[in-house]
Chain length 398, copies 2
């Protein structure tokens, strides 16, 4: 089997240990495009935004990015004006080394909130970080952004636009963010497509809507959440500045990569032992379907029942009942995969329940709820709430 | 030390095992007033309401109650028309035995959702339940309503109204409801005061606002949550039908009893190892203060940090940031008891942080957040999220 080739024309990657993480693992990464790339970005909606997020939201306005400097082990959040100065300083040091304008460098951080960046460590290791830059350095960068993730998450895809082969590579880190989504999600995507920043931004927003946004709680994001997509044009097809047929081709590739990355995030949810899709159908509106889905996905009682492999459907109905969504308690069906567990708001007979109880023993399954209120639907991905979730989060800083 | 006297004039209590709970513990209780009592009640706002709740909301309209028949081990929720028939049948059997109108009997249930009430077991044991009725039977009734509670919760208080001694006794069960409040809270209060149902209702609503409602999530209640307050007038003071000075005396006694019961609920939160008051001050409105307090109290990351005794204040700011409440991230102070941990949105110096880190090791402490946005404040009680919480809820039915 040929190893997957993550190289994307014109992009170089690096990742080293700068001693920011206590365990000595990689914690400083760099992504560099040999030419300035068009950039699209999505940032946390949390009102408490980390210093690098504040800086990037400003730099985004120019539509260009040439380098992403990222560290794990320290979020540079809640660090006041010192935090902003540090984020600027890091990007300016990288800009000097690369010989580019510092506004083309986007800093990013993830880790513990509230401590100043260990600038001395970072500054000392920047030469090493530069030395390691290479077209094959992807995995080093991925490792450098991991926090509680248990495996690296990376995806690659190709398509053809106007006769040219176009490649897209993406990486993501997350782990804690599945629920309640307070740990940071970082995702960096690079492509050699030639797409104007404004179109790229619309494409990224659309792709996130059916990927990252399906696994996060509306508006409940960490201080550092960041998705950046760089397109450096090295595939050398004529520039795309509106959707059209070629745009759609790129868009579907982007969908696929983002969805795969989002799924891998859920699969690596902190302490997760189950990987559950929750589909609400028959809702009065999409908004209702979404609220109902999140009410179930966020209920610790539902999630602990999944962990315990207990087909405790009463907790699902209970979550629906307090979701604020219009329901008729006597007209709700619930299925685990295709096995009915609730019919007309009541449990099915024991023999039927056994089938649903078998489903819940699987590592990955789908819960479908039919509200019989309308025609709208919405689905999200979530995990169970396990003993390890508590263990991991009770001792994260120590 | 004299044992506490829980007797209230004119009330009899009973509690037996009818084999509804698998462990053979008490699971069927009865509270009986020798004369019809004025009644006030509060019920779940969940749209999925258990059969007995539906029935009681109807019976409440008459303003009178003479008996409460309660079982644990089975919630009689999501049981359709059969559930309603069963709730009616149980109350009618009790009414026959007591020789009273069945509309004066309020049924109540708590336990697993979705199984029909084991009517045969209940019917067979009603004679025994009657035989055990006594003025001293309080503790038996309290035991009969317990589910995952680890200790019985009972409070008593007295006051003087128009020269007469008035007594109030209350019991509560809860445990799982602290967060996310999907396990059932039942609270039954009885008094020999002579108060009109309409006034009694206002008093109960006011008392709940500063007790039960401070520990529950707005609108997120179980299918069975019920608070009932019976006043049988046996203290024989002239009837109170408006607040006035005497009403205030009773009201403050009711406040105290409900607050103590609510506190004991939190202290017995499922798997709880910490008992935390969260006070938000300096909010723009009371609604904002409430939202901010709940955002912190509901964050599993904050709660697991408390469990791990980790003064991870970043998670508190993060929860505030996504609460939807107006904040200035650079103008927030946080205190653990009196020890500052965050000043102007940033962590205090390490030496100061050590003091806060000491506070979090206590079993019970107060977290104060100042938002500097206005003059409103709100406080709630909550618990940590422990390994035992997950263990209890992953195996509740098995």
């Amino acid at each position: 089997m040929k190893p997957i080739d993550f190289k994307v024309s014109g992009f170089l990657f690096s990742g080293i240990s700068a001693g920011i993480k206590k365990d000595g693992k990689r914690d400083l990464g760099l992504i560099y495009s040999e030419v300035p790339a068009q950039v699209a970005g999505l940032f946390t909606t949390n009102k408490v935004k980390a210093a690098p997020v504040q800086l990037n939201m400003e730099r985004m306005k120019r539509g260009l990015c040439q380098a992403i400097i990222v560290n794990s082990g320290n979020a540079n959040a809640c660090t006041g004006s010192q935090g902003l100065r540090d984020a600027k300083r890091v990007s300016s040091l990288i800009a000097q080394q690369l010989g580019i304008n510092e506004n083309l460098v986007f800093p990013s951080s993830t880790g513990v909130i509230g401590s100043p960046l260990p600038m001395k460590k970072i500054e000392e290791r920047i030469p090493e970080l530069m030395d390691c830059l290479s077209a094959e350095g992807w995995m080093n960068t991925v490792e450098a952004i991991m926090t509680t993730d248990t495996f690296p998450k990376i995806e690659v895809a190709t398509c053809r636009i106007k006769g040219r082969r176009v490649k897209l590579c993406g990486m993501v880190k997350g782990a804690g963010m599945i629920y309640p989504n307070l740990a940071t999600m970082l995702s960096f995507l690079v492509t050699d497509a030639n797409i104007k920043a404004s179109l790229l931004q619309r494409m990224l927003e659309k792709a996130s809507e059916v990927s990252y946004n399906r696994i996060t709680i509306d508006g409940e994001t960490s201080t550092n959440d960041t998705v950046l997509l760089l397109a450096n044009g090295r595939a050398e097809h004529p520039i795309l500045n509106q959707m059209g047929r070629d745009g759609e081709i790129f868009q579907s590739m982007l969908f696929k990569v983002c969805q795969n990355l989002a799924e891998s995030l859920v699969k690596d949810g902190e302490g997760a032992t189950k990987f559950i899709e929750i589909l609400i159908r028959g809702a009065r509106s999409k908004e209702d379907a979404k609220r109902a889905a999140y009410a179930i996905a966020h209920s610790p009682l539902v999630k602990t029942a999944f962990f315990g492999e207990d087909a405790n459907w009463g907790r699902i109905l209970c979550a629906l009942g307090h979701s604020g969504v219009r329901i008729n308690p006597n007209r709700i069906d619930v299925f685990f995969e295709k096995a009915p567990i609730v019919k007309n708001g009541m449990g099915v007979r024991p023999r039927l329940e056994e089938k649903a109880a078998e489903v819940i023993k699987k590592r990955s399954f789908k819960v479908t709820v039919d509200l019989y209120q309308g025609k709208s639907q919405f689905s999200i991905l979530t995990t169970d709430l396990s003993l390890d979730y508590v263990k991991i989060n009770a001792s994260y800083r120590s």
